[in-house]
Symmetry: C2
Subunit: 340 residues, 2 copies
């Protein structure tokens, strides 16, 4: 905490009040005196001041940050955008959200568009290999290192992949498979498979990797699986998929062929996706620290962090059992009530 | 089509090319001559001209539309925001996205914020009962009629509720239950229960409605269910929930108590939620026409539609069997490959 500038969230935590209360106090809106006193004491204690907003920003700021994501019809992207929106709002920033629908042409155009729109910075999760980002506008990339002077924030994909391999091996798997669908453009997420393979090799466990580009389609993965089912049994007893989404569809495909998960094959995905965002995990999974990724990206973009230059920040992941491995599944939080 | 101004999407459909191709042609970016010819012929055919963008807009336009949603950690909201983003992008508009996290204080503040930010209009999905919207800035409300001069777009919630009752009755249910959690602020979505009850009464089928506010929590619903389980059987044999999300958690709760869905109790939710957005439906459900809602809201906001004043537009819903009713479940689209 000592080398981070305190945020409104920190003040809320210290004061033991809701974020909205802190916001009201600093925006001059009436709250009970007891609350005001607690907020002001906490702010003094942490050295928080409203001037924080102004620090480190270019003159002529618009208090607007653009975020570029492929789409919101993918729970990791919508969770991340939700978290970025939250982080910006508590700093009195607006979010300009652009969805590219995975169209590389749209991505370049979006970057141009938001530049012309006089935003203070961009958080981009993009898949265009030749995206040109000039240095005059703060830019933080998610999950892909674009150039040495553009900071990048991701989860620790390599460790996540290793963790998945080690977990499957510890649960008794002896022949492992890594499955991946995604963009042709290499990025941080490709380290998931690399970490998985490295851990298999270290453990002396046989493994195979199948990497398919989106252009080739999920059918290529299904065809591979068909080729490796003999007498109703899959030749592999542990599968790591590069996303929970892929794991979900692969599991369904296997079950339709009479192969049971986790009895016959144990599976781990990546992302930490929960049913309806707050329910149980959809599968055993490597959990991305979404809120921390959003907070880190915003802090770097707004110069609240010192490691502005050249950094790739890989945030720690964790493992959660979610029913596709032979161990008790962790419980989700259940239905969270809104408006409380 | 005749009384709608054609959009780039219409041109793309008419020309049989991708939307990106149309965008390139109109933005002066090189494409093959054959494509350019087809796009230009289609544009001429439909009477489309780039001037469409400028029509009906106030002077000093910013080409930015703000959207206010509670959060993106709810698949209906993220699907809708995704669809709005898509509709805006093809009209060369930007999306300013604000998430309020269901905080009424934040909602009023957000409306003020986006007004100060000189946007061309607002699409708002809000829950603040006393939200003041003045008439000088185009505003389209989703799912709640705010005032007579603010257009509102929703799905046909009443018909959706009736449809759910009729379906459960046709599947043999004789004692029906409606369950609802949500905001204290009344809105269009409250017609779901009204339509359900009306259809039950018309059919002479016994029914009960339990409406719980978010402040009271899901626990109030669980307690009701406990009170109505006798000897391992629920007194109701058909349940309609106001969201798929609620249906998901209620189903889990019942199954934990040994009550089988759909064998003992048949259930229908509302929204049309699919696993990972493109997979199977998470439950039998009333499907909201999300893309059509987004397109309608954008068209009204940008004056592409004639019914600018005083309209509540209720778009037709459909029913999809999703495994929680005693009938074959419809298949989802499976894993859609991106980047194709």
């Amino acid at each position: 905490m000592s080398n981070k500038k305190p945020t409104m969230k920190d003040v809320a935590r210290e004061a033991g009040v809701a974020l909205g209360t802190v916001s009201k106090v600093f925006n001059g809106i009436a709250v009970g005196k007891a609350y005001r006193d607690r907020v002001e004491a906490a702010a003094a204690q942490l050295g928080y001041s409203v001037d924080n907003y102004a620090r480190g920003l270019r003159s002529g700021r618009t208090s607007t940050v653009a975020m570029i994501v492929p789409g919101l019809d993918h729970s990791f992207f919508s969770s991340l955008a939700n978290a970025v929106s939250y982080e910006l709002l508590q700093r009195d920033y607006r979010l300009m959200l652009v969805t590219t629908q995975f169209d590389p042409h749209a991505e370049s155009r979006c970057v141009q568009m938001v530049r012309q729109n006089k935003v203070d910075g961009i958080i981009g999760l993009t898949y265009t290999s030749d995206l040109r980002i000039s240095g005059d506008l703060p830019y933080v990339s998610i999950d892909r290192c674009i150039s040495p002077n553009i900071p990048c924030v991701s989860s620790d994909n390599f460790s996540g992949g290793s963790m998945a391999a080690e977990k499957l091996i510890s649960l008794g798997c002896t022949k492992l498979l890594f499955l991946r669908t995604g963009s042709r453009v290499i990025g941080e997420t490709d380290k998931r498979g690399a970490g998985f393979t490295a851990a298999c090799e270290l453990a002396g466990t046989e493994s195979f990797s199948l990497r398919v580009n989106d252009e080739d389609g999920i059918e290529a993965i299904y065809a591979f699986l068909d080729d490796h089912i003999r007498n109703g049994r899959l030749e592999y007893d542990g599968i790591f998929c590069n996303t929970d989404r892929l794991a979900f569809f692969v599991r369904r495909y296997l079950e339709q062929r009479g192969i049971r998960v986790p009895e016959d094959v144990q599976m781990i995905g990546y992302d930490g996706t929960r049913h309806f965002f707050t329910g149980d995990y959809v599968c055993s999974t490597i959990v991305q620290p979404v809120q921390q990724m959003a907070e880190t990206a915003v802090r770097i973009l707004l110069n609240e962090e010192q490691y502005r230059l050249s950094a790739l920040v890989c945030l720690p992941v964790s493992y959660a059992a979610g029913g596709t491995t032979r161990e008790p599944a962790e419980k989700g939080e259940g239905l969270i009530n809104y408006g409380k």
